[in-house]
Structure formats: structure tokens, C-alpha cells
Amino acid sequence: MSPMQWEPPSEPQDTLGQRLDAAARHLLPSFIALLAIIVLSAPLGLPGAAELLPPIMLGSVFFWSLWRPSDMPPLNVFFLGIFMDLIGFTPLGVSAFILLLVHGLASYTRFGLMRLNFLLVWGVFGLIGAAASVLQWALACLFRLHVLDPAPAFFEALLCIGIYPLLSAVSSWFLHILDGKPTS
């Protein structure tokens, strides 16, 4: 009878399916954002599809960076921004830069923001969206080397503020599904 060999206590390893499932859950927000970019850039004839895209991207990046930064890592944000710039006709890198700034702001202030009321979060996002619109307008002016009409930037800021509750509701539903437990 051979002596019992000591085996180190090992934690139960995840199976391949579980790991794939986790990876899919992590990638889902970025994938949905990617899909939103593709669908909204398609020639569908939807009214205001081109104007709707930047607010939707800002809102979803803000939401996921606030509630689940691990599902919206900076690298994904960067590639989403570059993809947006390549499909749209904004100067290359501008959207990536702005989205990364929003991501950074949201993820560094998330422990303060998560305790706040929804309305206050909405207000903070409104400020961030307005700042992002102004920054985009300023960068566009810088690259074109003359002052552009600020009306589209104003419109974009208003769209940011207007679309956030809807986006937040849909994303909260997704978060709920991903977690399998209720979220605030």
C-alpha cells in the first residue's frame, strides 16, 4: 500500500464553458455599443441617426464606467472611439479622446457618484455631456482652423441630457440580466 500522496488543496477550476460565458458577459456592453455604431451609421433613413450616435456612446460609456468599469475597460473605449471616427467623418482620434476622458472621469469618481440619487447622476452626466460637446466642437474648430457654427454642439449636449434616462433604464436592465440580481 503506497503512502497517500499529499495533494495541494486546489480551488475548483472553471470549465471552458464557464470561462467563455464570463468573457461574453464582460464583452457584452462593448459589443452592444459596437452594434449601435454600426446600426446607427447604416443608411436606414432614421431621422437624426447621425446626431444620435455621439450622445448614445457618451451615455453608455459613462454608465458602464460608473457601474461596471471591468466590463468597459479603457482599451475597449479607445477602440470604440477609433471605430466611430473611422465610420463617421469626425477627425480621427477625437471621439476616442473624448470617450476616454469621460471614462476616466466616471471611473475615478464612481465611489462618490454611486451613492447619489439618480437625478443627481443625471445632472452630472448632463454637465459631462455638455463639456464633451463643447470639447468636440473646439477640437473640430481647431482642426478646420476656423470657427464653426456652435448650434450642432448645443443640440448634441441637449440630446445627451435627453437620452440618458432611457439609456440608463436599458443598461440597468442589461446589468440586472448580467448579474442575476437586482441593481439600483
Binding site: 451609421s41 447604416a42 436606414l44 479607445f78 473611422l86 467623418f89 482620434g93 479622446f97 471614462h103
Partner: protein
Amino acid sequence: MLPVSIQVRQALGKLVLPALLLLSVGVMIAGQVEKRATEKARMAVAGALAPLWSMISQARAGVADVSNGIRQARHLSEENSRLEAENATLRRWYDVAVSLARENDALKTELHWVPEPSPSFVTGRVVADSGGIYARAVLLVAGMQSGIQTGNVALAANGLAGRVTEVGPHAARVLLITDISSRLPVMLESSHAPAIMAGDNSDTPRLLYYPQDTRPLEGERVVTGDQAGAFPAGIPVGTVHYTHPGTPVVQPFARLNQLTMLRVFDFRQAEIEPPEAPGHVPLSHPAHRPLALPFKTLLSPGQEG
């Protein structure tokens, strides 16, 4: 995974965001410098996404088709119910018409009504007529052998077309009502006022000699009158239309430019002669007026000359 300590990994994780921000600024500058490469990259991405976009727009077109079909189907049911209602109304009117026709028959039987002779007619194919003395005339492949006589009336499908002026053995020439030499006595249907319809080689003959106190109304129906005895009364001719104020013209019901068939009616109007009436001074035929003194006709026929 590289064997790095947790502290180093956390520090690297904190560095990712600033590094990416710097990278995006670098991309901005590079994009401004290398515009051609940027355009190429944009085109490559758009080219890769084009099949996806076409799929999306095809799906959208399919959805639009389906919704269009549903809307049309709903419209179809509305149309169907409207037609059913109209059909019910028409059925009621059909019953009314049948009962009125029966009542009319019964009343005619009661009154010992003498039926009007139904006119005989022949139908012939129209051949274009470029020759002849008339500008607006057609040649009909039906002639004397078919019983056509000079002065017969030619009708198109829905209105008066003209009258027969010359008859050959196998062909007849029909003078259309638009010819410049065509003068027809007509009657305005709503006011019963007589007028003369004169052709002028245009598509719309003019109305002349209507009473000054009853002017033709726009859209009023014009039918033939029986003043000269050339036409039976009541054949539909056309409607009144004013091209200019004060110059009424008739728009014929018959499409005189595209005649293919004509029915030629023999109304035998000329044979209806009023019977001799002693004591009656005929006014309509001054040529037949006896040259003798009027009081002679007052005498009885037996005492005459």
C-alpha cells in the same frame, strides 16, 4: 501572464488610461498629418462593413414592405365594406327601377300606347379618309348594299358622330360634326333652348344662335334638336364648355379622333309627314304652302276646284 507583483500590476493598470489618452492625441495628430492614410483606413472600414449595412437596409426594406402590405390589407377591408354598402344601395335602386319599369309597362298597356318604331341600324368599320371635300370626314366600310342612305345618322359608342353624306355600293362617307361645313340644330338640355352647333375643323364645335336670355351653362348637356327634321331629338352630342367668356363650345362625347366603329341609324325621320288637316295652315314647310288664297282651304275638300 508576466510574473509581476501586484503593486506593479496596479501601477500599470493606472497607467493604461493616460497612455491611451496620449495615444489618441497621437492618432489625432497622425490623422491630420497623414490624411491619405486616414482616408484609406476609412474606406477599408466602410468596405468591410458594406455587406452588413446592405443586409440591414434589406431587412429594413423587408419590414417596410410587410408594413405596407398590412396597411394595404387594412385599406382593402375598408374598401370592401364600402363596396358592400354601395352594392346594397344599388340593389335597392335596382328593385326600384324594376318596379318602375313594370309600372311603366302597365300604364302603357292601359293607355293603348303606340310604340315608337325602333330604328334599324348597321355597324361598320371606320377607315381614315384623307380625300374628299371635307376636312373632317370618315369613310365607313358599309354602303348601299347594307341599307345605308344619305342623311342617316352615325353614332359612336357614346354620342353623335356625324351624318352620312355620300353612299357608294360598299362604302359611305360620314361628315363629322366637327367639320367646318357641319351645321346642326341642337338643344340645350336643361333650358330646352335651341341653338346651332357649327363645326370649325377644331375638336370643339361652337354654339351659335342661342337665345340671348338663356345662355348655355358650363357643363350643360347638349342633345340634338328636331327643328329642321334632319335629326330625331334627344341624341346626346356633348357638354358645353367655355374656352373664352362669351364663346361657348361643345365638347363632343364621341372621341372623334379615335373612331373605330360607327353605328349608322335609319330613323326615317323624313318619311313622317303630318296628315292632311283641313283648316290647318302649315307653318313648317312654306314651300308646300298652296299658292291659292287661304280661304279656299277653308272650304271642304269636296268643294275644292
